[in-house]
Symmetry: C2
Amino acid sequence: MSLTVVGSIAFDAIKTPFGERERILGGAATHFSLAASFFTNVRVVGPVGDDFGEDEYAVLHARGVNTDDIEYVEGGRTFFWAGEYEYDLNSAKTLDTQLNVFGDFQPKLSEGSRNSEMLFLANIQPDLQREVREQSSGAQVVALDSMNYWIESARDSLVKTIGTVDLVFLNDAELRMLTEEPNLVRATRKVMEMGPSVVVAKQGEYGAALFTDDAFFALPAFPLETVVDPTGAGDSFAGGFLGYLDSAGRSLDEGTLRRAMTYGSTLASFWVEAFGSERGQELTREEIDDRYEMFRRITTIESVPTG
Amino acid sequence: MSLTVVGSIAFDAIKTPFGERERILGGAATHFSLAASFFTNVRVVGPVGDDFGEDEYAVLHARGVNTDDIEYVEGGRTFFWAGEYEYDLNSAKTLDTQLNVFGDFQPKLSEGSRNSEMLFLANIQPDLQREVREQSSGAQVVALDSMNYWIESARDSLVKTIGTVDLVFLNDAELRMLTEEPNLVRATRKVMEMGPSVVVAKQGEYGAALFTDDAFFALPAFPLETVVDPTGAGDSFAGGFLGYLDSAGRSLDEGTLRRAMTYGSTLASFWVEAFGSERGQELTREEIDDRYEMFRRITTIESVPTG
């Protein structure tokens, strides 16, 4: 079993009401890789510059992530993002974006990455996502994430790319924007008509909902008294979800998908407890499975009592 | 078993993208009574005017609601509200509010209503809620709802009233406003420090979450392709919740509260399928129990597979 992720590798500067970090490892592919690494073999594909060194590789290697396809651009600098969260932590204000080597990124997958049974196309330009998907001849299950920027600026290409994948991860607002349908159930149905058989609606502090042709499943976010930094929550969610799915044989049956949702939510709940991926770097599989069980307990409904 | 509700009885004019009604029966106490009537004996306390006639009483009597404490104000007119919902149905724009007889409402409970084992203080001025609470010598369990208007204009009185009840129903924004705490887990803890042992956070399209001193439970909203009119959703939720709770002996143990949450969400999901209480007037207990079981199915997580 093996899972390839293609997307951004970055340095982030993050400020929240609970503290700040001037320069920590970030990027969708990084968060995703670390979260998925608790379940399966992960290969990460993305560009870095001269400023990406031993310490950064060490974080990925400590979790067993295969970094052979990290593309080093000599003389370049790694993608940099600076953002600040207000007190409610619900939305980030971007203070600075320096695309650097990410701006000219043309993903080239090695044979190993092309042969992964599962592929995650993190949030990059939809034409590039499609090129990667076409290179990935071994991929039995493919998922993608995207964002409002691509829905607005490259909708046709994004719809075409969505037609080539099995699972779509988008937040509620993006699903509504993409389909121009305010009702979420109808919106996800429209996305499934584009091709995918599974749509996962990310709902931030309200958790996530999963839609298939004949099933629905929703999970609240794990109740936390202290959320330090929501950066990477969505990517760690997808990482936990797809990492588990790969480890479970990639079947898209309802039971497996529900467990995948729960592992995704579990990973995301740890991710937001500290800055960037700091909590994920310290995490153990035992902690993950304990919280999975807590999720079960806080969502169990008893039968209708008779009488 | 018996449940008394004190609150508004109204006529509503409602416009949504799916149609409109010029004048239908509304008001928090009405929606609550009808929803709770599927589970227990309900007594409704609220003021009406000359325009409230046989047809309106008939709706309540058809569901067995005791209307002895509906206070008829001769020469007065019933509370009237006109509102419009935009396409996303998430918030109502108030077009007209005529308090009429509700503006001078001084609740007077008959002996029957005072002796109900359970009391719901719907959203009225907090001083009045407290007076009703003091009259209700038979009430073993008391719950209240409120709104942003009272949090802003009568906070001290509201906090005092909250100190006299067992359960609080508020939406997320109201809980945060009341406690000045953006984290919902901490916000509900602060409300419990005021006195109540149970806080229910209403979350609209995302369902509801229940907090006690040592338990948490969340339930998504039932996924509906067609939401016609959200008016009364929160009151029918509270009605289903507290109606079931009364029928189950008013124990605040975790299993009973989870079932109450599920019945509340079930009632609210029917309520929004048609204008005002129209769907609730046609509803059967069998439909309610079928949807309860569907809720169980869409929220069940399987155990962590071993191996």
